[in-house]
């Protein structure tokens, strides 16, 4: 184990010097310098697309830098692959877990051990690590049976098996409840005290202020600042990340809430496959003029709920889903669109849009049954072209025109196009799943404003999101989905993040109320 040192003293543990990474014409990292000292928690801040993930993939040997050098304890190193990085003392906890659902916990951990190392007493070693860092794990369980928090513990334990000197964590709390995140911070505090360095990537600024000693801010592939996050405010950090002040979303108070436009009535739906979530007896009423938020940790039934509301999966009973009072539970997505509903699923490329299709064709995708782009049998290509152009113009989509393939757009621009595609129809009901996931801050703000404006014009808007900040910013009421169950909705103004966080972790409404 490395000797404890005072942070920032002496020579850095790891130095990245002049790192450049190009993908074709696109430069993801444009000459980045970064020093990490033993025993410090170092935050890497930046918007989506700022180059954080690319940089740490280079540090972990997953990507080869186009230019630049990495020094480890002063000596230049080149990592041909992650195995080499691990052998040197760098461990990584991925944002999207690099786990294998059908393998056991022990097998998942065994995969990263150096070649030739015996697997005999693996269970014992897993137990030791688990004990020391408070990471409860059952080595024999297959991964698909575990929660997001448990999965992250495997990742961390796997990383610690090799006694790393530097641990990189990429957005580790994005899938955790606030309470699980606290447990993670406790583990990280132990690691820091042991003298290990932590490189912590996050866009959650409060966390960074809570945990980190130093911060480096990236924008558009360059270092734009370094600071002590504890001496800054979340607001000043955000300004550094974005470069300009982010326009705040104006949420005018709800004047008058109208009648129910979208209703779920005791909706139950068994999971279609082994790894899915079963929906249990969900009821919910979204009224004209309001934004209704559904919070929850990923994998608790959000996708299943979205499919049930959109009609991609049919409910058992016709009255389980109502649009403006009409029972549509047994009708498909096309019929529901014709009743005035519109949908924006989470996955942009591949679900909401076909990546290889042009924007014009993608306009046809969700609009073919509601006029303007297709008749009963034939496409109206001229109509589709003008619709796509309109959306591009009206919603400020940066794209190479209606013929550009969807995959050539950035996340934020494609999302603006997809949200615009639905809003330009003036739907009576709009349902969105993770509407600003992986979208840059200015596009995210624009999208949130569009949702509020749509609701204030008399539509019902349902937003499913993992981002609590987003939900507190735009929704009038919030309910929590956990393991296929939906909580009672709460008025946003009369609830707190802690309360919603407890519900996300599976506490019952009674527990939460009792805690008050």
């Amino acid at each position: 184990m490395p000797e404890p040192q005072s942070p920032s003293a002496g020579a850095p543990l790891v130095s990245m010097r002049g790192i450049v990474k190009r993908f074709g014409a696109f430069t993801a990292n444009a000459g980045i310098d970064l020093d990490i000292h033993a025993g410090e928690a170092h935050a890497l801040l930046g918007e989506n697309g700022a180059g954080k993930s690319t940089l740490v993939k280079i540090l972990y040997g997953l990507l080869e830098p186009s230019e630049g050098q990495i020094l480890f304890q002063g000596a230049p190193v080149r990592f041909a692959n992650p195995e080499a990085a691990r052998a040197t003392g760098i461990g990584m906890v991925f944002q999207h877990f690099s786990l294998f659902d059908n393998l056991s916990v022990a097998e998942n951990i065994a995969l990263v051990l150096p070649r030739g190392e015996s697997l005999r007493n693996l269970s014992q070693r897993i137990d030791d690590i688990a004990q020391r860092y408070g990471l409860r794990l059952d080595p024999e369980r297959p991964v698909w049976t575990l929660s997001a928090g448990e999965r992250q513990r495997i990742e961390i334990a796997r990383c610690l098996m090799q006694d790393p000197k530097l641990i990189v964590l990429d957005e580790p709390t994005s899938v955790l409840t606030p309470q699980e995140a606290e447990a993670l911070f406790a583990t990280l505090d132990v690691l820091k005290r042991e003298g290990r360095a932590i490189l912590y990537i996050s866009h959650r600024l409060e966390e960074v202020r809570r945990l980190c000693d130093r911060a480096t801010v990236l924008r558009a592939g360059r270092v734009v600042g370094a600071c002590d996050p504890r001496a800054e405010t979340a607001r000043s950090l955000a300004a550094m990340m974005v470069g300009t002040h982010v326009v705040e979303v104006r949420a005018s108070a709800v004047e008058d809430v109208g009648p129910e436009r979208l209703g779920l009535n005791h909706l139950s739906l068994p999971s279609p496959d082994l790894h899915g979530v079963t929906l249990h007896d969900l009821s919910l009423h979204v009224r004209a003029g309001e934004v209704f938020g559904i919070a929850g940790i990923a994998g608790n039934g959000q996708d299943e709920l979205f499919a049930a509301i959109s009609g991609e999966r049919l409910a058992g009973a016709s009255d389980a889903v109502r649009l403006d009072g009409t029972c549509v539970g047994r009708q498909g997505i096309t019929a529901r669109r014709q009743f005035g509903a519109a949908f924006v699923p989470e996955e942009r490329n591949g679900h909401a849009a076909a990546p290889d299709f042009s924007l014009m064709e993608n306009a046809i995708l969700s609009r073919h049954a509601t006029g303007g782009v297709a008749g009963r049998a034939f496409l109206d290509l001229a109509g589709a072209r003008s619709l796509a152009s309109d959306i591009i113009q009206r919603f400020d989509v940066r794209a190479g025109g209606p013929d550009a393939p969807a995959r050539t757009l950035s996340g934020g621009n494609l999302q603006k196009f997809l949200v615009g595609r639905e809003i330009s129809r003036s739907p009576s009901v709009l349902v969105l799943n993770q509407p600003t996931w992986g979208v840059d801050a200015s596009a995210a703000a624009a999208i949130r404003q569009l949702l509020i404006d749509l609701s204030r014009a008399g539509s019902a808007v349902l937003v499913i999101s993992q981002d609590l900040d987003e939900l507190f910013e735009i929704s009038d009421r919030i309910a929590v989905i956990h393991d296929g169950f939906l909580s009672e909705p709460r008025d946003t103004r009369s609830t707190t993040r802690e309360e919603i966080g407890l519900l996300m972790g599976g506490a019952s409404m009674a527990d939460v109320t009792h805690a008050h």
Binding site: F23, G61, L62, L63, E64, N81, P82, E83, A84, A85, R86, F94, F97, S98, L99, F100, D101, N102, L103, E107, A110, L111, V112, R115, L119, D273, L274, H275
Partner: protein, 307 residues
């Protein structure tokens, strides 16, 4: 049924099952690594032609077998470069491999049609091989039969008990995660595909060197495709593949016996039995599934690492 006939039937069932299981086990390994190789039929028939030609030219059965395996490996190598390193469509490329293999086997075998050579010998252990019923079944088979059984055991052990097997399964399960951990996904897949090709070539060589033993155009008669079905039928498990192969071997042999006994059904119907059985097996399997997905999750999907 007299013990002698029973013994004969059982021995011939095992023999009919052997080429199926060898080819199926090879494909099973490739599929567990995430690659769907529909070229089994093509690699098998080239293995049969090349193996037979080499054995005739050299007079050595062993060399024939080696050339049969080598031919399968070479074809699999072409397939592997295309689908693994160049991300070509696996289904279409596999079909192309089969079409190519059938044509190539005709070219290779054209000078050898009608030739016969001694079949590769059966094991003969005094006393043991003469035991009633089980004597020849257990102690009097040809080397390929034992190779098939050995292969099933070895592959089961490799997949479930070794580090290499764990790595291979991980690659087939989730290639993105495997890559993130630094496992050389494409290399592992390529090796698995080569192994599958070698097995298909071996199965082909068995047909032309021991089973028939001669070369005839189109002699694999869809066995490569049946082997593919076996992998699905066996839920990607080696021992189940063996059991399935025995079932198919049984259907083939019964069909032959029924024809010999001329029981009044049209011969065409009887020769169709293995193909009908394949379809039925797939249907039955789909009916009793629901116990979770068993297919490797990345099966058939190309992996393109960014660098």
């Amino acid at each position: 049924m007299s013990p002698q006939i029973l013994e004969l039937v059982l021995v011939s069932i095992v023999m009919a099952a052997t080429p199926l299981v060898i080819a199926a086990l090879g494909e099973l390994v490739a599929e567990r690594a995430g690659v769907l190789d529909l070229g089994v039929e093509g690699m098998m028939i080239v293995g049969a032609a090349a193996g037979f030609a080499a054995a005739i030219e050299s007079g050595s059965s062993l060399l024939g077998v080696a050339v049969g395996i080598g031919a399968g490996v070479v074809l699999a190598g072409v397939f592997g470069v295309l689908v693994i390193f160049m991300a070509a469509n696996q289904v279409a490329t596999g079909l192309a491999l089969t079409i190519l293999g059938v044509g190539l086997s005709g070219l290779i075998g054209s000078g050898y049609v009608g030739m016969k050579r001694e079949s590769i010998g059966h094991l003969d252990i005094p006393v043991l091989s003469d035991l009633p019923v089980i004597g020849r079944l257990v102690f009097g088979q040809d080397p390929f039969v034992y190779a098939g059984i050995g292969l099933a055991i070895a592959i089961a052990w490799f997949l479930n008990r070794t580090r290499g097997g764990l790595t291979l399964r991980a690659v087939g399960e989730n290639h993105a995660s495997a890559h993130a951990l630094g496992i050389p996904v494409r290399r592992v897949r390529f090796l698995a595909v080569l192994f599958g090709g070698g097995c298909a070539g071996l199965a082909g060589a068995y047909l032309s060197l021991a089973y028939t033993p001669f070369w005839a155009p189109g002699m694999t008669a869809g066995r490569g495709w049946i082997a593919l079905a076996l992998v699905v039928f066996a839920s990607w498990r080696p021992f189940r593949a063996y059991a399935g192969a025995l079932l198919f071997g049984g259907a083939t042999v019964l069909q032959l016996h029924a024809q010999a006994a001329s029981i009044g059904l049209p011969g065409q119907l009887l020769t169709a039995v293995p193909y009908l059985a394949t379809i039925l097996a797939l249907v039955v399997l789909s009916l009793r599934k629901r116990r979770g997905s068993i297919a490797p999750s990345s099966l058939g999907m190309p992996f393109i690492p960014e660098r």
